[in-house]
Amino acid sequence: MTIIFKNLCEYYRKYKDLYYIFIWKEFSIRYKQTSLGVIWAVLQPLSLMGLFTVIFTYIMPVKISNVPQPVFFYAGLLPWTFFSSSMNYSISSLTNNFDLIRKIYFPREILPVSRIVVAFIDFMIASGIFVVLLAVHRIPLNWSTLYFFPLVGLLVLFTVSFSLIFTIMNVYYRDVQLAINFLLQLWFFMTPVFYSTTQIPAKYKMLVSLNPLCFIIDGMRKSVVEGLLPSWKEFSFMLCYAIVLLIISYRVFKAAERKFADVL
């Protein structure tokens, strides 16, 4: 345990400047030529929230839950947007920087991870809008709201793992880059963003719970909007799932890293 800690400190000391510069670079490049700038961070979840609210209130009226529709949708769209944009940004991080990879050594995970951090900055901005939305709908905050933060931690762990896996695959098979939009679309429909987990028939529940986003979104809604505390047992299970997945994906990434320069 102490060895792991020591290695992490060493790693941090050695590469924190490089992380910082990469994050800053990705962030400033992304918004340099745009006129709306960081407003883009909230535009996607907000517009989808508006769209779903219109669809499920006027066009196809459905009562999904007891919470106000916009809050319900936004609570799902907030983590979903972070996940999908992280995947989208990070997946091409190695192939776009092939010139760098072929010429100089540094830990390659810095490339996808710094793009995820940029998506996380967007997520934090969008979370601010969430707070405003809760205030507008007079949803009281209480102790259970704090559960939001461990869930964000879980979300980040899963996002990094999935991103690493897909990023490596994209180095070897560029099909991934073409497939990712389609894949994320499928994933979106399998995730309870515009429906509630209570609407899923019992026999499919097991299948759906394999999708970690399902647990995270459900938990965020329950804790923040409805003021309920989910079971710690389930949370501990998901945490183990996340950690194991992260270790595996990181190991695979480090093993594949040695070949990147020759393959790209």
């Binding site: 400047d17 490089l18 910082y20 510069i21 670079k25 400033s28 490049i29 340099k32 030529q33 920087n97 010139d99 760098l100 990879i101 072929r102 010429k103 100089i104 050594y105 540094f106 070897y172 098979y173 040695r258 320069a261 020759d262 393959v263």
Partner: protein, 240 residues
């Protein structure tokens, strides 16, 4: 030649590359490879040895020139030392820090200004942000493009681009410096002269220098030893 400990040791290093434009032959083959654990020692279709049976030692303070035709394996040697790629057989051990100046301009982004790119490229070359803060003036001065340093580099001429890139590279601190043809690049005689001065300074500071070039006369002038690289094999010649 210095009698110190060697800083770079190549022990029977073999490196192969594939000629085919696609990396993977098939998904099935790759999956089998993942589970078979041991590296395939022979060559399969379309592969060739970029380096073979190379063993040599380079000592602290030496300047070694790499000479050979295109595709002889010069860059592969530099890449192996820079830890960018790995040998298929044999071992490469490097005991000191490396400034891989084969990567001049690495990570440059065209929308960022010259100054911003100094930070990006500098950290990639292994400098700390604080270190760059201290060296910033010197880097800008050496490049000689003070007026344009806040301009996005997409508007730079190729000469300005090279000047900036080289200036950052030469300011990185390491024990081993790798150069790949860059000293011969460009028509900019004045700047080239400046670069040679800088390389000579490194030499005086007892830094180890490896550089690849097509220009044998120049290599002979500055190097202690020359490695003649041909079809992946090396013959060594001492310069007196």
């Amino acid at each position: 030649m210095s009698s110190d400990m060697p800083v770079i040791i190549f022990d029977d290093v073999w490196k192969k590359y594939s000629k085919s434009s696609f990396f993977h032959r098939s998904l099935r083959e790759d999956l089998i490879k993942v589970f078979s654990f041991k590296e395939n020692a022979g060559l399969v279709a379309n592969e060739f040895w970029a380096l073979k049976t190379n063993s040599f030692k380079i000592f602290k303070g030496e300047t070694v020139g790499l000479y050979g035709p295109n595709g002889a394996g010069k860059t592969t040697i530099l890449k192996l030392i820079a830890n960018v790629t790995y040998p298929n057989k044999g071992t490469v051990s490097v005991t000191k820090s490396v400034a891989p100046l084969i990567a001049i301009g690495a990570g440059f982004h065209f929308d960022l200004s010259g100054k911003e790119n100094i930070y990006v490229n500098g950290t990639i070359l292994g400098m700390k942000i604080k270190e760059i803060d201290q060296k910033l003036d010197s880097i800008i001065k050496f490049s000689g493009i003070e007026e344009f340093i806040n301009m996005p580099i997409k508007n730079y001429s190729s000469g300005m681009y090279l000047r900036l890139a080289f200036s950052i590279a030469i300011h990185s601190e390491a024990d081993i410096y790798l150069f790949d043809e860059i000293l011969g690049v460009g028509e900019d005689k004045e700047f080239q002269e400046k670069c040679f001065q800088k390389v000579l300074e490194l030499k005086e500071k007892k830094k180890t220098i490896l550089w690849a070039s097509h220009d044998l006369e120049m290599l002979k002038k500055f190097s202690d030893r020359i490695f003649f690289v041909n079809k992946g094999e090396i013959t060594v010649e001492d310069i007196l």
